[in-house]
């Protein structure tokens, strides 16, 4: 058959793969393989179809076959690239290209692919070697720069020792300077050159480059290069020169980049760290001269631009810090002036915040000024002024001024102004934000402050009602939704919180930064135990972004190489790493495991899989990408931020929380699992994730699992701490019995191999299984003597019951009751995980562990008794939530929100109904779920 004819026959396979019809792709491959049994491309495509249909074992066999044949043709290599990446076998991918390149050393494309395979895994040293060879052979200047950036990236790698770092930069420097064309032919090469000079502190050379005409013109058009230039000048202590240059840009080019103004200010007041340079002395003269300059610009710009005005404030503040300000009224005078000019801008409050940290006479003068502003609601700028006055006065409230009564009065005032301002937005389309929105948010924040002061749940209702009303008038005011999510979680109305979260249309990378709003400790509200997978699904969906990251981002790193956009490469790599090792990713993972075990049957498959995944996570170095500043804060500066005030259980789970829960679960799963480290190594497909460089991670796993650090414990709630102690005691107690009963690795591997053979017709590859003598692996030594269960295992459940009663009787928030209920349930499930191994009667008999099993029973009986009580109470609680009395009480509690006649009782009743219904749903669901868990784990 001709090549063209074969091509025609293969094309449908690609089409099938492209459209996700993996099955038909496999069938088509099989058909063609009959005619061409040795065609690597067909095998590679078949392996790809298998990978994409999650049939990993089947694909492995073919994949290894193709690799053994050492393919060199483009099509096969490209298909295999997808196969190996799908399997996570990046090391094999590199090897494949290296083998191909050995056979065709003249092939530039192959060389580039080998280079990229190394880039994708961050193997900079290897990549650098290839780039060197490529330059020798193909004489392209760009390969010099590939080499340069790889040297820099290798130097920046945390695993590279410091002395090596300098050497690598020196190498990079030599490469750049010996390049046949100068670096300034492109901004990105120029950038790279500057990075090297900055690192090696070769300032003279940097100066020559930057002061050349071409250097100047690059900096004028490239923000990236100009940023570096500014940094280098600062490192050299050239604050005066930089200040002069900035003045020139401000005057001649009318540049109003705030960075230029910072440069002007730094010339007068150089940052303390670099003031060693004698010529940078601070004096009243320079400060005065700078003030004149800025005042001139401010005069010129008027209200067209805020830069010079704000710079004057900054200058005054710095003068005060240096004791150079003579006129004590000056700062407040500037604040007043700024407010008069820009008080009608939404950002005025944010602009002035750092300059408003006032006390004494300053504060009283500033407060008098703000209070003297007359409120007007005739147009949008006037409302904006009213809003700014409220925000600024509120910001500087003293602790003595923050009482429940005063805060209620303020809430009423904010709300009154809200309704005065609301008509101005009547004609705006639905899609626009209302100009008065901030007043409703201020009202809600004042109510939240009252709640914090009094602990009265009613204040949460008031805040919710005001926000719901305002959201009805301003449908896309996401700041209101953010607060509502916080409030509804506190109230245990989890489905409402989720509704608002979903309305914000969080997608893509935002899942990483924002899902904490709804998924932090979400297992508290999950009713997965009843089969309702809403929150579990939310966990999985929000985690999709991490798959996209590992599939897509490295393609763009490669692209940045081919496009020679070197300035972007380190940042792309940082982005990929931060997303891949995201703290939120693994917090969600742990929450998902906690939900999963309430829903699914605990068996060895679940145990082994979660164990391996959690152990991987335990080796990571995490990055916290969560956006914890998204909720705008208008609380007084002496108070906590509104976001912190409204955190569920007053704590946000972070790295410490993650670490504790990982330790608890890894330990339990490890005991329950037959897969020990040696077995895991043999069964693992693909590469292990890169280990973090944390020296603690180098300790033996057993030691790491036993560690409990104070900063980790601090992130736990009181009840989580109890749960952790329970889990630890149980694991310590059962460790010797697990170790005794667990089958030896050889037996586990033999079993795994048998299973693989049953599925794929071939035993496990690459694993040698030692002969077992007639399948028996009974140990020689005696079984460890059975010890009584530690007391804490049974007192735990009593304690949780006591806690339950305390919370319910104390009128605490429903979310707290749910917290106790779900942790108690988790404790029972953990018992199942820990004791699954001892379930078969034969195991107990052979190992003479009858007495041990008896003590499990006692704990289990106790646990189930307590849980049934809690479940009964939950259902009572839920019933109450569903009554009209409950709704009436809600409405009556909202006196504040109804004080303006605009929010009528029907509206409040509607909110009451939705909140109590949502609460009823979760209370009832969790209660029913507990009963089901009791049955499943009896």
């Amino acid at each position: 058959m001709s090549a063209a004819a074969l091509d025609r026959q293969i094309r449908p396979i690609y089409d099938a793969l492209d459209t996700g019809s993996n099955k038909s792709a496999i069938l088509a491959c099989n058909k063609l393989l009959k005619k061409h049994p040795n065609l690597d491309l067909l095998k590679a495509l078949k392996a790809l179809a298998y990978v994409r249909s999650q049939k990993v074992e089947e694909s492995l066999v073919i994949c290894d076959e193709v690799l053994a044949a050492k393919p060199t043709d483009d099509a096969t290599l490209s298909a295999m690239t997808h196969v190996l990446r799908g399997l996570g076998r990046h090391t094999d991918l590199i090897k494949m290209f290296e083998e191909a390149l050995k056979q065709e050393p003249q092939n530039e494309e192959l060389a580039a692919q080998t280079f990229f395979a190394n880039v994708r895994t961050g193997s900079w040293k290897a990549a650098q070697l290839i780039a060197t060879k490529m330059h020798k052979q193909f004489q392209e200047v760009r390969y010099i720069y590939w080499n340069v950036i790889c040297a820099i990236l290798q130097a920046n790698d945390a695993a590279t020792p410091p002395n090596m770092r300098t050497l690598l930069y020196k190498l990079a420097h030599r490469l750049v300077t010996s390049s046949p064309t100068p670096s300034y032919v492109s901004a990105d090469r120029f950038y790279l050159h500057l990075v090297i000079l900055r690192e090696l502190q070769l300032f003279d050379e940097a100066n020559t480059l930057l002061e050349s005409d071409v250097g100047k013109s690059i900096c004028a058009t490239s923000l990236l290069c100009d940023e570096l230039r500014r940094e280098i000048w600062r490192m050299r202590g050239l604050f005066q020169e930089e200040g002069q240059r900035a003045r020139q840009r401000i005057i001649e080019s009318k540049d109003r980049n705030w960075l230029e103004f910072v440069s002007v200010l730094d010339a007068a007041f150089p940052p303390a760290s670099s003031a060693s340079n004698g010529q940078n002395g601070v004096s009243a003269e320079t400060a005065g001269e700078t003030r004149d300059f800025l005042a001139g610009i401010a005069e010129q710009d008027g209200i067209r631009d805020r830069s010079a005005h704000l710079a004057l404030l900054e200058l005054e503040r710095r003068s005060r810090d240096h004791g150079l300000s003579k006129d004590p009224t000056k700062l407040v005078g500037l604040l007043e002036k700024y407010f008069r000019m820009f008080g009608d801008k939404a950002c005025c409050f944010e602009d002035l915040q750092p300059h408003m940290l006032l006390d004494g006479d300053d504060l009283s003068r500033w407060t008098t000024f703000l209070e003297s502003q007359t409120s007007s609601f005739v147009d949008v700028p006037s409302i904006q002024r009213v809003i700014n006055v409220h925000k600024m006065l509120r910001y500087n409230l003293a602790a003595s001024q923050i009482t429940a009564e005063l805060e209620k009065t303020r809430a009423a005032q904010y709300m009154k102004d809200y309704f005065s301002g609301l008509p101005l937005g009547n004609d705006l389309p639905d899609t626009e934000l209302q100009p008065a929105d901030a007043l409703a948010i201020l009202t809600a924040q004042a109510y939240l402050s009252v709640w914090k002061l009094t602990g009265h749940e009613a204040q949460l209702y008031n805040a919710a009602v005001v926000l719901e009303y305002a959201l009805g008038r301003s449908k896309h005011a996401f700041q209101m939704r953010l607060l509502l999510i916080q409030i509804y979680r506190l109230l245990g109305a989890a489905t409402l919180a989720l509704e608002h979260y979903r309305s914000m249309n969080v997608k893509q990378v935002q899942n990483d930064t924002l899902s904490h709003l709804i998924l932090a400790r979400a297992s508290t509200f999950s009713t997965a135990s009843t089969g309702d997978l809403t929150f579990a699904t939310e966990c999985l969906e929000s985690s999709q972004i991490y798959m996209s990251n590992s599939q897509e981002t490295s393609d763009f790193i490669v692209r940045a190489f081919t496009q020679e956009k070197y300035s972007m490469i380190p940042d792309f790599i940082a982005f990929e790493d931060r997303l891949d090792n995201s703290l939120q990713r693994d917090l969600v993972k742990v929450e998902h495991v906690r939900m999963r075990v309430t829903h699914e049957q605990i068996n060895s498959e679940l145990i082994d899989m979660e164990l391996i995944e959690l152990k991987f996570i335990f080796d990571r170095f995490h990055h916290d990408n969560r956006d914890l500043d998204i909720v705008l804060n208008y609380q007084p500066r002496v108070q906590d931020t509104v976001y912190n005030q409204t955190l569920l259980f007053d704590k946000t789970p972070g790295l410490g929380w993650l670490w504790i829960f990982l330790k608890v679960y890894i330990r339990a799963l490890q005991q329950a699992s037959d897969v020990d480290d040696t077995v895991e190594d043999k069964l693992l497909i693909g590469d292990r994730p890169k280990q973090s460089n944390d020296p603690e991670n180098k300790l033996p796993l057993k030691e790491r699992l036993a560690k409990r650090k104070q900063e980790e414990l601090d992130e736990l709630t009181e009840d989580e701490l109890r749960f952790m102690n329970y889990a630890t005691a149980m694991a310590d107690w059962l460790q010797p019995y697990h170790d005794y009963v667990r089958p030896p690795p050889a037996a586990v591997l033999a079993e795994a191999s048998k299973q693989t053979e049953l599925r794929t017709g071939r035993p496990l590859q690459g694993v040698e299984i030692p002969e077992l003598t007639n399948g028996s692996f009974k140990k020689d030594e005696e079984a460890p003597p059975v010890k009584d269960s530690p007391e804490i295992l049974s007192t735990f459940f009593d304690d949780m019951k006591a806690r339950w009663l305390e919370v319910v009787a104390g009128g605490k928030l429903p979310s707290e009751a749910l917290h106790i209920a779900t942790l108690t349930q988790e404790a029972l499930i953990l018992l199942t995980i820990e004791t699954l191994r001892f379930k078969p009667a034969s195991v107990v008999k052979v190992h003479k562990l009858g007495a041990l099993v008896q003590s499990f029973k006692a704990i289990r009986t106790k646990a189930i008794a307590v849980m049934k009580e809690i479940a009964a109470e939950l259902s009572k609680y839920a019933e109450q939530e569903g009554t009209s009395e409950r709704r009436k009480a809600f409405v009556e509690a909202c006196t504040g929100a109804q004080s303006s006649s605009q929010i009528d009782s029907d509206f409040v009743l509607n909110v009451a109904k939705r909140v109590t219904d949502a609460r009823k749903k979760v209370l009832e669901g969790v209660g029913k779920g507990i009963l089901r868990v009791c049955t499943n784990h009896a």
Partner: protein, 183 residues
């Protein structure tokens, strides 16, 4: 007034206060990285002195021959930073780079025909309607604004390489093309 600085990949972790706004779309990672890996100099961020992101612009260079030009793909400012001329400054930067680095003949952008405020702003910056693109913003039925909601104006501003203003025309609003014809 604000800090003007390059757009970086890691800014995707920080842009929520801009992107939660209903008018700003959040695309997949690939969208942003594609632009940054090809036209990093046509992308920039504005940031408040407090470090909070205020807005950003994402652009590219495209076209052949006399159609070679800079294109504004996305320009957005967070609600609390509007009416401060931030958009104007970012457009200025994009035009300067399109002119001096890419040597384009013009800069163009698409805007919803119903978005009078934005159209006014672009006209103030020297842009004019080159053509009307039918159903550019999807054809999911007509909203309150009728055709103006789903049609886009393709607006252009000539750069120094086009001193005779050949890339623009005065009757652009009457020239209607279908979305298929433009890209």
């Amino acid at each position: 007034m604000s800090i003007v600085r390059p757009f970086r990949a890691t800014d995707l972790f920080k842009f929520n206060n801009i992107n939660l706004d209903v008018w700003t779309e959040t695309y997949g990672i690939g969208f942003y990285l594609n632009y940054l890996s090809r036209w990093p100099d046509l992308c920039c961020v504005q940031e408040a002195p407090s470090g909070r992101m205020q807005g950003y612009v994402i652009g590219k260079a495209e076209g052949t021959g006399a159609e070679w030009h800079g294109h504004v793909t996305a320009l957005t400012v967070a609600p609390e930073y509007r009416r401060l001329s931030l958009g104007r400054k970012m457009m200025g930067l994009l035009e300067m780079v399109s002119d001096e680095i890419y040597k384009g003949f013009f800069v163009d952008l698409y805007v919803r025909c119903a978005n009078k405020v934005a159209i006014g702003m672009y006209e103030g910056l020297g842009y004019s309607v080159y053509r009307r693109v039918r159903e550019y913003y999807g054809s999911l039925g007509l909203g309150a604004g009728g055709r103006d909601e789903e049609d886009a104006f393709d607006m252009r501003k000539p750069l120094s390489r086009d001193p005779h203003r050949r890339s623009v025309r005065s009757n652009g609003r009457d020239v209607v093309v279908s979305a298929r014809e433009v890209s």
